[in-house]
Structure formats: structure tokens, C-alpha cells
């Protein structure tokens, strides 16, 4: 019989004094959203009890964030759900492990190597990315292939703004991305279940689309490690697994690059992975999804074509057979 022992309290879960003292700033900043979320929560009207897993907000506030016309006006999911319900196998199995193991990952210093079919290959450090590029808030719907969804107030920069600096050539038909490979910092990489590092790719026109961003933060603060710090991809019309985390390498390629889940189970996870309610996952329906944080008795939401971004992205796929290129 397997009995799971409660996890010992990690030093990371004890609130450092300076964060504890600033907790009211954060409460004020998110009060309106929290009130809305509590109202629709499991126990309406009740303040959710504090638990050992309650997240400490990342103290690093990103300055001068611009608003964006691409943001949805849907109410964002609570910070605690966005930061404690994660798929990031490199930091542990299950939804809550990544937040518990987040401290293994060090995000400074951090550089991204850019190479492949471009005129000016090179590298860029995270501080440059944060200071040289204007940071925008993008409140996006996020749809996981596991049929759940959130609304996430990302902060970041359009991917194309970065890519253009490296002058991709006409041979650059795709862009490939890689997560950091370091089993010491990402202990999940000791498992042989996956072919590490995590890899993903986009077609060039998808990568250059205005909606595609590199996220550096959420809720106005730098990304918590479990959400893919210090920088991750966000492609809001595709299933979440395309939005690769903790990126260290970007490569322009002529041919379609390998992608982790696609390599693992090509009949279940396509290279395109566009959100599509008309094409079911072989094992479950994609017609609707569960809303994270909505409580025990909330109805599922219908899933929209391209996750509701059809007006912006449908033209990218013309008359491509989306059942075949799922």
C-alpha cells in the first residue's frame, strides 16, 4: 500500500520577512480579482484557508508595463492557481510538485543562444531582454491539451521583436526552441521517460504573429520558476504544451524541428497543436474544458476554435486539413 507522506516544509515555503511585510501591497494590487474569484469559489463567501502551499508572490515587479489591445477582458484566474497548478515535469510530476520544487532552478545569470538560418546569430541575456524591449501586459486565454483552461495576465514582448534582431534568412522556415538542460536544477530531467531537453517549434509565420509572445512575467511581476522563469513562449491559440518554458536556445531552421510531446506520442500530440474543439484527443473530448478555480459544481466552458483567436490566426492555416495536421 502506498501512503503519501505529507511533504516536509521546505525553506522556500516559509515566507521571508521582507515579502511578509510587503504582503499588503500584493493584496491591494490583486484585491478586486481575488474578490471575484472567491465569490465563485468552492465555498462561496469563505476566505480560502491558508495552506502550506500558498504561493509567495515573486517580489520582482516589472516596471513600465504597457497595456495591449490583444488582451481579453475575461477575469484572470487567481494568482495562486496559476502558480500552484502547473505542468512542468522538469520540476516534478503532478500539478503541485513544480511549485514545491521551484527553488532548484536558478534564473540568473541567464542567456538565450540564437542560431541557425540567420545573418546575425548571437546571444542575449535576460536583463537585456527585460530592459531593451518594452514589456506589455497580455491577458490571454490559456488552454491545456488536458481539457482545462485559465486566463493569465502575462507580461512579455512579442517574439517577432526579438527574432528580427537576428535577421532570419529566407531559408528560415521554422523556429526551434529548447528548455535548459541541467538535471541539478531541473531534477525531473533525471527521469528517462522523456528525451530531454524539452523542445518545441513553430512555423515562421506563427512565430512572427503579433499574438505570439515571450513571457517574462505574470500579474505584473517576474515569472515564478514553476511557470517557466525567466522566459517562456506563449502561443495562446495552441495547446499549452507548445508554450515551452525556461528557454535557453532558439534556432531558425529550414525543416520542421522535433517537438517533445509530438515525438513521444505522435498520434496524440501534433506539431501544430492548435486548439480545436472539432478534433478530439484520441482519449478525451476537446469540445469543452474545465475552468481552473471555478469550483466543484461549475459547468465546463465550451472550447472555441483556435481558443477564441480565430479572427487573428485562422488565415495562417488557409485550407490546411486541420484534422490531419492536428
Amino acid at each position: 500500500m502506498l501512503i503519501r507522506r505529507p511533504d516536509p516544509i521546505r525553506p522556500s515555503q516559509i515566507t521571508a520577512e521582507q515579502h511578509y511585510l510587503r504582503r499588503r501591497d500584493f493584496i491591494k494590487a490583486t484585491a478586486g480579482l481575488s474578490a471575484a474569484a472567491i465569490g465563485s469559489g468552492l465555498l462561496p463567501g469563505c476566505e480560502p484557508a491558508a495552506t502550506a502551499a500558498a504561493p509567495v508572490p515573486n517580489p520582482k515587479v516589472i516596471p513600465d508595463i504597457r497595456k495591449s489591445r490583444w488582451s481579453t477582458d475575461a477575469a484572470p484566474t487567481e494568482y495562486k492557481h496559476i502558480t500552484t497548478y502547473n505542468n512542468f515535469v522538469e520540476l516534478g510530476d503532478g500539478k503541485s510538485a513544480p511549485a514545491r520544487n521551484a527553488d532548484h532552478l536558478r534564473t540568473r545569470p541567464w542567456t538565450i543562444q540564437v542560431s541557425g538560418e540567420c545573418e546575425a546569430p548571437g546571444e542575449i541575456g535576460i536583463e537585456d531582454l527585460l530592459t531593451r524591449f518594452p514589456q506589455e501586459e497580455r491577458i490571454y486565454r490559456f488552454r491545456c491539451v488536458e481539457a482545462w483552461g485559465m486566463v493569465i495576465p502575462w507580461v512579455g514582448l512579442p517574439l517577432r521583436d526579438l527574432l528580427r534582431r537576428f535577421k532570419p534568412t529566407s531559408k528560415a522556415k521554422y523556429v526551434a526552441f529548447e528548455t535548459l538542460y541541467d538535471p541539478k536544477q531541473l531534477p525531473g530531467q533525471r527521469s528517462g521517460l522523456y528525451d530531454w531537453p524539452y523542445r518545441e517549434g513553430l512555423r515562421m509565420d506563427e512565430a512572427m504573429h503579433a499574438l505570439t509572445i515571450l513571457a517574462t512575467g505574470l500579474y505584473g511581476r517576474e515569472l515564478p520558476n514553476q511557470n517557466g522563469a525567466p522566459i517562456r513562449l506563449v502561443v495562446p491559440w495552441k495547446y499549452g504544451f507548445k508554450s515551452i518554458k525556461s528557454i535557453v536556445a532558439i534556432r531558425f531552421t529550414e525543416h520542421q524541428p522535433p517537438a517533445t510531446w509530438n515525438m513521444l506520442q505522435p498520434d496524440e500530440y501534433g506539431f501544430y497543436a492548435n486548439v480545436n474543439p472539432n478534433v478530439d484527443h484520441p482519449r478525451w473530448s476537446q469540445k469543452q474544458h474545465r475552468v481552473i478555480g471555478a469550483g466543484l459544481f461549475a459547468a465546463e466552458e465550451p472550447t472555441l476554435m483556435f481558443n477564441g483567436y480565430a479572427d487573428q490566426v485562422a488565415h495562417l492555416y488557409g485550407d490546411m486539413d486541420l484534422r490531419r495536421y492536428f
Partner: protein, 207 residues
């Protein structure tokens, strides 16, 4: 005269085992009420109840080999309670799927059962468990006589279907279903009759 020792063990052991079997439900309820599972409570309920149905089924199946191994016959007297608790968690699991997950949309439930093999085998396992739970009483054991034993051999296909259900639904990490499959294989192997050349001498002497 005091009661016999094995009777005492069972007498004291039964309420303890009963409470232990309820512990996963208590833990699940706590996580739901404290808000710890509030991101996706339906997923937590479905995963937990399914997991404990399988674990308790394996514990149930461990009683016979454990008795053989230790010679403690009283172990078998816990088997019915363990089996019924496995069925209890399986029923919660099915109810959570039908109600919280599918919201009784019967068309889609029937589609699921027909089209998705992991649902097909899961539903089959729970349906097959039902007659075993119903006939677990003393009255039914008497009424069915030798047929009771034959009927209750269904527990082996049920366990296999249950583990298949789990194996087919995981995304990539097959380690836990593989562990369960390994344990079930050992428990089934332990039921094979011991070959005559391996039997202890004294048992041949008695024959």
C-alpha cells in the same frame, strides 16, 4: 475463559482497518475544504478515489498470499471489508465521473464508453465488482454454495481491467500503473499451486 487470540486480533483489528480505509476519504475532504485542491477539485476527486479503489483492491488480493506466507489464518477475515472499501471508492470514482465531470450528459457518457477504451474497461471493472459486493454477505455465501467461489474469481479480471484503465489514461508517466501491474502479477503468481518438488517435506508426509 478469555476469547481465543486470533478472535481478539480480528475484534480489535476490524474497527482499526475500517478507520484506516476511511482515512483517504478524510484526507481528500480536508484538501477540498481547506482550498488546497481548489484549482481543479473535480480532477483531485476523480484521481484520488480511482487510485484508492485500485490500491485497496490490491490489498484485498494480498490477504490470501499473506496468509499462506505467514500461516496466520485470521488475515482472511479482513478480506471482505477491504474488498467492500475498494468497491466504495470505485463507486465514488464512477459517481464523480458521471456527475461532476460529465454532469449526466448521457449521450456523451455513452460515446465515451463506446469510443474510449480506458473508459470502457473502467466501467466494465466497476460493473463486474457490483455482484461481488452484493453477494459478499453471509446469507449469499450460504445461498450460492460452491458457486460463490466461482463467481468471486471475477476479482482477477476486475483487477486486470482496473490497472489497464489506469495504464491507458496516463499521458506519458507509466511508472505508477506499472508498479500496480507488477504488484498484481506477484499476487497472481503467489496463487499458482506450488510444484510438488518445492513443497515442504512434511506436507507430502501428511498426504
Amino acid at each position: 475463559m478469555s476469547t481465543k487470540r486470533p478472535d481478539r486480533i480480528v475484534q480489535i483489528g476490524k474497527p482499526i482497518v475500517f478507520l484506516l480505509c476511511l482515512a483517504p476519504l478524510a484526507w481528500l475532504s480536508w484538501r477540498l475544504l481547506s482550498g488546497e485542491a481548489s484549482a481543479n477539485p473535480i480532477e483531485v476527486i476523480i484521481h484520488d478515489t480511482g487510485n484508492w479503489a485500485l490500491r485497496l483492491l490490491l490489498v484485498t488480493l494480498a490477504m490470501t498470499p499473506l496468509r499462506r506466507l505467514t500461516g496466520r489464518a485470521w488475515l482472511i477475515r479482513f478480506r471482505r471489508m477491504l474488498g467492500l472499501f475498494s468497491f466504495f471508492y470505485a463507486s465514488l470514482h464512477l459517481t464523480a465521473y458521471l456527475w461532476l465531470d460529465q454532469r449526466f450528459r448521457w449521450n456523451e457518457i455513452i460515446d465515451d464508453i463506446m469510443q474510449r477504451p480506458y473508459i470502457t474497461v473502467g466501467v466494465a471493472a466497476i460493473l463486474l465488482m457490483t455482484p461481488l459486493a452484493v453477494t459478499s454477505t453471509r446469507g449469499w455465501i450460504k445461498r450460492l454454495g460452491p458457486r460463490w467461489k466461482t463467481l468471486h474469481r471475477l476479482v482477477y479480471p476486475i483487477a486486470i481491467l482496473g490497472i489497464l484503465h489506469y495504464w491507458w489514461l496516463v499521458k506519458a508517466d507509466w511508472r505508477e500503473p506499472a508498479l500496480y501491474a507488477g504488484i498484481l502479477s506477484l499476487l497472481l503468481l503467489a496463487r499458482l499451486p506450488t510444484p510438488s518438488w518445492q513443497r515442504p517435506r512434511d506436507s507430502t508426509a501428511r498426504a
